[in-house]
């Protein structure tokens, strides 16, 4: 069953068009993440789903029912806000039970629900405190508890973890994922953190300037980015974009890479990409993920598309498990992810390998994938 369907939604504030032709469809129990840079309209879209704002054009369906004219309280949704929005004058218990009280649920039942929710989130001992007496992480839990108590058909989260410190954020991320597995409630989750998006989502909608750039599974947005923006947004460290010329190499095409130190390589593109034939002699952006420009790659000996480059290292940044090495290719600072033991020192030359089946080509003018 379709749990949430958004059809051709537009939203304007006055003259400013904030959302343009948004269409999405998720199944019951799915975890959808809306991700994108600040100001791209994620919160606005979430507010439209919640009914806190009205659409300018288009339709929203919740469980196959059109909800354009339905008020937030009747949409069977619950929302967790970035600022938590706990009612300051009420105790934690009251905060959680307020929504139930509004829905005229009997007192003894409310008590049971509050206790159950407090148990799930381990906030039993906080029930009688006021929000001001809680830490950030505890407030976050209470805000989730408030949403949980109502057992809605859709959870909406607006950057719920962005006010927590890094360690707590990772913990809560796992907890949200567990909770979703356990409850199986359809969830729409807004974040600008691509790692959060990748780890939590069943499907990701990547947004920019009020439009959806790609709507797919985490695996696919990583393996198969629709355009330059998605390629650069998903993945950490970010993908390298190296301007280069497409040349004819035998029957196929290839790209020319001039590395720092004078060497020039012509790497043949994998034959899979036929569209590149039209680009011979023209400039493209060569998209290369740092993890595929490394000291060694799995199966590198069997894979005919793996090529070697000798590059001079400019900067080395150890991160622990991996070391990030910067080299210059075609005059662009290029990030490589290498094993700490094989990382060269600045000024040294280092042997790097890259897998041409894992690279992307983008139109430098439109940003579209070739």
């Amino acid at each position: 069953m379709s749990s949430l369907t958004i059809k051709g939604v537009y939203k304007s504030f006055g003259q400013v068009e904030v959302l343009k032709d948004i269409s999405l469809d998720i199944q019951s129990g799915e975890f959808l993440v809306l991700v994108g840079p600040s100001g791209c309209g994620k919160s606005t879209l979430l507010n439209l789903i919640a009914g806190l704002e009205t659409v300018t054009r288009g339709e929203i369906f919740i469980r196959d029912q059109m909800v354009n004219g339905v008020s937030p309280k009747d949409r069977d949704i619950a929302m967790v806000f970035q600022t938590y929005a706990l009612y300051p004058s009420m105790s934690v218990r009251k905060n959680i039970s307020f929504g139930l009280e509004m829905r005229k649920i009997p007192k003894d039942e409310i008590k049971k629900i509050v206790e159950k929710v407090a148990g799930i989130l381990q906030i039993e001992e906080l029930l009688n405190r006021k929000p001001a007496q809680l830490s950030g992480g505890q407030r976050q839990r209470v805000a989730m508890g408030r949403a949980l108590a109502r057992s809605p058909s859709i959870f909406l989260f607006d950057e719920p973890l962005s006010n927590l410190d890094a360690k707590l954020r990772v913990e809560m991320r796992t907890e949200i994922k567990l909770l979703h597995h356990r409850l199986g409630v359809t969830t729409v989750y807004v974040t600008h953190d691509q790692i959060e998006a990748m780890t939590l989502a069943d499907r990701i909608a990547i947004m920019k300037d009020g439009t959806i750039q790609q709507f797919d599974t985490p695996r696919n947005v990583y393996k198969n980015p629709a355009n330059l923006f998605v390629g650069g947004f998903i993945g950490s460290p970010a993908m390298n974009f190296i301007p280069t010329q497409v040349v004819q190499v035998g029957d196929g095409q290839g790209v020319v890479l001039d590395v720092d130190g004078g060497q020039s390589y012509t790497l043949p593109a994998s034959p899979g990409n036929g569209a590149l034939a039209q680009w011979v002699g023209r400039e493209v952006l060569f998209g290369l993920r740092p993890e595929y420009l490394s000291d060694s790659l799995p199966d590198q000996d069997e894979e005919p598309q793996v090529h070697e480059l000798e590059c001079r290292v400019t900067v080395v940044e150890p991160t622990g498990a991996d070391t990030i090495v910067f080299v210059n290719i075609n005059g662009v600072k290029t990030t490589c992810r290498v094993h700490p033991d094989s990382a060269g020192k600045p000024g040294e030359t280092m042997r790097l390998v890259t897998d041409m089946t894992k690279v992307f080509f983008f139109d430098p003018d439109t940003g579209e994938r070739i």
Binding site: A50, P72, K73, M79, F81, A85, M90, G99, M102
Partner: protein, 295 residues
Amino acid sequence: MAEKSLAVVPRTPGVVAGRIFIYTLLGIAAVYFLLPFLVMVMTSVKTMEDIRMGTLISLPREINFDAWSEAWSSACIGVNCQGIRGYFLNSIKMVIPAVFISTALGAVNGYVFSKWRFKGSEVIFSMLLIGCFIPFQVILLPMALTLGKLGIAQSINGLVLVHVVYGLAFTTLFFRNFYVSIPDDLVRAARIDGAGFFRIFWRIILPVSAPIIVVTVIWQTTQIWNDFLFGVVFSGGDSQPVTVALNNLVNTSTGVKKYNVDMAAAIIAASPTLLVYILAGKYFLRGLTAGSVKG
């Protein structure tokens, strides 16, 4: 914060000299402002004879409260010799409903202008703000006509209405500015939870409004209690507020001028506002500087 930064200032002779200078200046200012009040209090407890003999600032030879009781219950205001007691009660009867209504309406207005904005609400708010700058005199005539039409001219109810209308601009401004610092997400969360306009106001907004309620109540009480012009224009003989009665008392000339009675009456008339500041002045300052509510 302030205490901390004071604590780290080293006590060099320069700093000490500066301190002495500041305190001297503050002391002079305090005396300057308190002196008239002191003269009033001293005069009010003198006998008439004492006043005639001594000077304005000579200490009373004996302390005598006859003038106070005369001012309260037997001084002549016009032809009516029952003191200012009745007018004092008039003022109370006027101030309490006027303050309550204007504060309550201001709170709801402020709530709408900050949390339920609608098309044109900013324009209406700006227009309302102009109300803060309209001089009293300008609205006298239209207000008199309105009160006449409503049939509440020359009555306490009429005065209440005048003060509510005139005060609304200020109370709305106070509440609106306080409420914009309350996160909108609170209202959104409550809407999703199923609460409506008034329930959100009552259960979520009002419980965190104490600082601004204190400020508004003090402000309005002072304004309305101290008002003279509206009182003199819109009240009839027996609905006059105490400020008007005080003026009439001082101007009623039956032979000798009883300075001690005048002074006692003036102090009585001013006492509620004085009291409010002494009791709640701290909260007034605190409320004015109160920051936003953290959710």
